[in-house]
Subunit: 225 residues, 6 copies
């Protein structure tokens, strides 16, 4: 049986558990899945400093587990250190930002990313631009803070509706790993596809494994002794 | 059990069988898969006229099978009539051109498409441009005709090696459905990932089904009575 | 005397007559012009399904009239099946969407397209992107429905003024064949150029004929027996 | 009867005569056409300094003739001072560079510009980029110097064939006013469309006049007292 | 000691003095700096006609001073005739538009240009596009006219705050030479970097001189006898 | 007196000394300059893994020296961890890759980067794309290994000449910090500008300090406690 390691680049035990619970159900008997938090990383990743703080732990996780796992998911929507992970790993590595945004392009003309905080917008746009997806981006919208009596789902619905009406979004991308598991209900409310980062990354990774595909090691991501 | 219909947009019984044989093995027990050829379509699809000739049959296939299948693959690498299929279908539809080229982006910086004929190059570039993937395209190369004693695999290897050396390709995309099944051996020879259209489209479609995702019907691809 | 066939891709006799009346006056004694509706096409073209429904009839029109006409205009602003028409035809073919938008670029920095319905906006943007004109597009704006006592001209004026003020439009493009003939009055009201699709396509087609130019048949649009 | 002034931005009497001879035949009885050379301009325009030297004379020509002419053609393929001409003139102004390259896009996927000298290539690419046509440019190729016994037509044919084979050109654009009149023969030899700057600019200008269109004066090109 | 000539492309003695006063203090003892107004130029430069009127005087200034100066600054934010200046000059030439906008890219992700008038916006966007900086442009905003009791600084602050909040600007570029000297105070008020055209052009020019760099004369900007 | 810290992201004492020697002479009495190597970094930086290995040391250098220095140069042409440095630092930070390539754009139309190794090309192109400079890039060329009796300067000259002739390069950018100091001689040989990373970064940094400019801390690069 295939074995997948989900690397949660932050150090939140709670979020790690939520990801693991979702992933286990999602993957079912197609693979064994383990989610690991990153030692030394901050509780939440937003800035380059946060990403850099997570790096050493992420490197260790990928190096120590190369033998034991068939592939890796990087479970933070800003794809921290993803190029490095692709370079170090001999097994396929999929970031949830890249996976969810490329998936969104397949099922609609324009997608909006729901971002946790206003502060993440510039980095998110940089990421979209890096993947050459700006022409299919309708907007990045920050969720901001919950009002009283408002659930996280209510808030996501409200911001999504603004994106649909004002930015002409056709697909919603959950731009933060802590929204994991929310896509199904949100999709029901909105009537348009909602892409979950973890689910899309796992789907793509399982697909790559089925296809016998891994990171190209000939140039950009070649590994060194 | 999920049911997938692979629509082969041409009318070649031989190619239909080859796709079906490969798909059945590839999908295994994850879904039931049926490949249908397109009545009224030409034997091989290269031009807009070929695509148009295939259209009526493809529309019929998708309309007649909406109830019975959970998703569709369009099994020609020029993604003929794909926007129309996405619009007509209430179930997810994946083209092997789009699927294979977006997949290639996830595992390397630049990909080269092996095209069956020199005549397909302009249309292929138009397709790559439509998906906004030009910045990750190293080249489109035509296979041309086999020399004596040369196998199709030999020819693919030769053209791929040129792409790797001269165009700095990091991933090879098999740009024609009749190369189905060749990716594994070619990958072994080349040492870099080779993406098969059918395999990547099936992987993505199965992933979309697992995620409960389908084509966004709110705007670009909304269906009409 | 040169002979031009205007192919109206829909089946509306009224619109066909309106186009013919306008075209006859516009072309004067420079050419003989005939407008034909498309059998089997819908009354109005907005979606890919509409375009596909028009296809067989359009193919027949172009094939049956190759000998008798010197050039063709495709008279629907979404340029349905235009690549196919260019490929099939040995005579020049001009779409009113492409003609009007490329013409607008020659006389101002940014143009706004008036689209019949909100539902046509994503397809229109896809078209603009296909022609690489996004950098000169100020906006696509839907006309929406007439208010009581409002004429179509009033509505076009109102939407155009919004485009001029809010989107910094410098040229207005009439993005629907059923606005034919309205450009002169609208231009008078607005004080900026208003491009009519039919007029611009006829002008360009007559110009191509004068220059002895036709579709390049060497690669992208080569015809097959 | 409409009156057109062709402004030849250089001071070569010979080239002015050649343009006038061609234009008169081309326009026939559709308009009266006069070609004027530019006092104070150099014999040949290649650099920014050449363009600047031509400016005062061009400004005078356009200002002195606004009343007497219905439209202007700027007959140098680098479109010298074209934005200025568009701004100063109340009548439509068409540059042969812009006209020929936008026309080429309508009849093929990719065009190659034949440039007089190697030194004009960077400026030509800058022009193509300014018009956002880089995605349809196959190449700019310099003609270089004639070999013994080689005619200008032979040379154009040779360079065009290289462009067709190596750069996948589908349309040839004559990138210098002194190639005027050569398009018909070259087209016969090559079998693909060859666009002449003067012919395409006259066609577009006559078309604009027929449509009652002129330069938008609301923003980018507004005139001042 | 290095000698720098600042060419003020307009003929305003007042603005010339303001630039000279600022430049002298800014440059200190690193170079001798002289600011010259342009004979025959208008008082303020906004349109292509204004730029053309300034041209002859600018050419004379650069030609007459090539021997005596080590470098030139073109002190108008629309970089009038800059390509010509680069071509004519054997010494480095820096435009304040190009200098300030390229500098802004180094210290933040997105910049907003404060433009003197609404009428300058299209030309400014054309300039940004020419330098390929559109992806880092948050907006161009016109200052408009002062309200009663409002200082120029107040107005700049207000417009900048709108840009920061609504357009997500991270850096402000003073898009008009007559705002010279205002950057320090405005920066203090806003808390984000404010780039002054004159200061940034002088800095870059002094840097080029230190590096022994000048305009490349091999192709695009080669000079002719 | 201003104090500048040059962070050499690798751990080579030799290269650090070479940079310091050059920088000291280049800066003269304008600032005090110190070059520090990075503890824990590899001897040479080419891959993402190399960059990641350098990160902790670089972070320490910038954090420990914020009080004592007025600005920082990151002296590796792949700009490793530059976004992180910009985010962490309250003083201006300039990368030699960004500085040299943006400087090249000011003095010519197209630049070629001389890269140390073939393996650095994909990363370099990614960097160029990140800065939106692809339209001004003529090529990235690897130096490869020295032949017998060939000096490093000879090799640079040879590869530059190929770039000038085949890629139409107008400016050469030294794409590796270990080429420091070579620009003057190479420029003499080639007759076109050669940009040195260290020199251009120091020039830009000194310019930013003169202008009182630093990294915008409002959004993309805001610092956190």
């Amino acid at each position: 049986m295939k074995r997948i390691l989900i690397i949660n680049p932050n150090s939140s035990a709670g979020m790690t558990r939520a990801i693991q619970d979702f992933a286990k159900v999602f993957v079912g008997n197609r693979a064994e899945v383990v989610t690991a938090l990153t030692d030394g990383a901050p509780e939440f990743i937003e800035t380059s400093a946060d990403e850099s703080q997570a790096m050493a732990g992420m490197v260790r996780l990928i190096k120590d587990n190369q033998e034991d796992y068939d592939g890796f998911v990087i479970a933070c929507h800003s794809d921290p250190n993803l190029d490095l992970m692709k370079e170090l790993s001999l097994k396929p590595v999929v970031g949830i930002g890249e996976a969810s945004m490329r998936s969104a392009c397949l099922i609609g003309d324009r997608f909006t990313v729901l971002s946790a905080t206003l502060g993440s917008i510039p980095n998110k746009k940089t990421l979209v631009s890096k993947y050459n997806l700006l022409d299919q981006l309708s907007s990045v919208r920050a969720l901001g803070t919950l009002c009283a009596k408002q659930t996280q789902l209510d808030l996501c619905e409200k911001v999504s509706r603004d994106a649909i009406e004002q930015d002409l979004a056709e697909v919603i991308v959950l731009g933060c790993a802590n929204l994991v598991g929310m896509s199904f209900e949100l999709q029901d409310r909105l009537g348009i596809p909602v892409v979950d980062g973890i689910a899309s990354a796992l789907s793509i990774l399982l697909g790559l494994l089925d296809q016998g595909l891994s990171i190209s090691k000939i140039r950009r991501y070649r590994s060194h002794a």
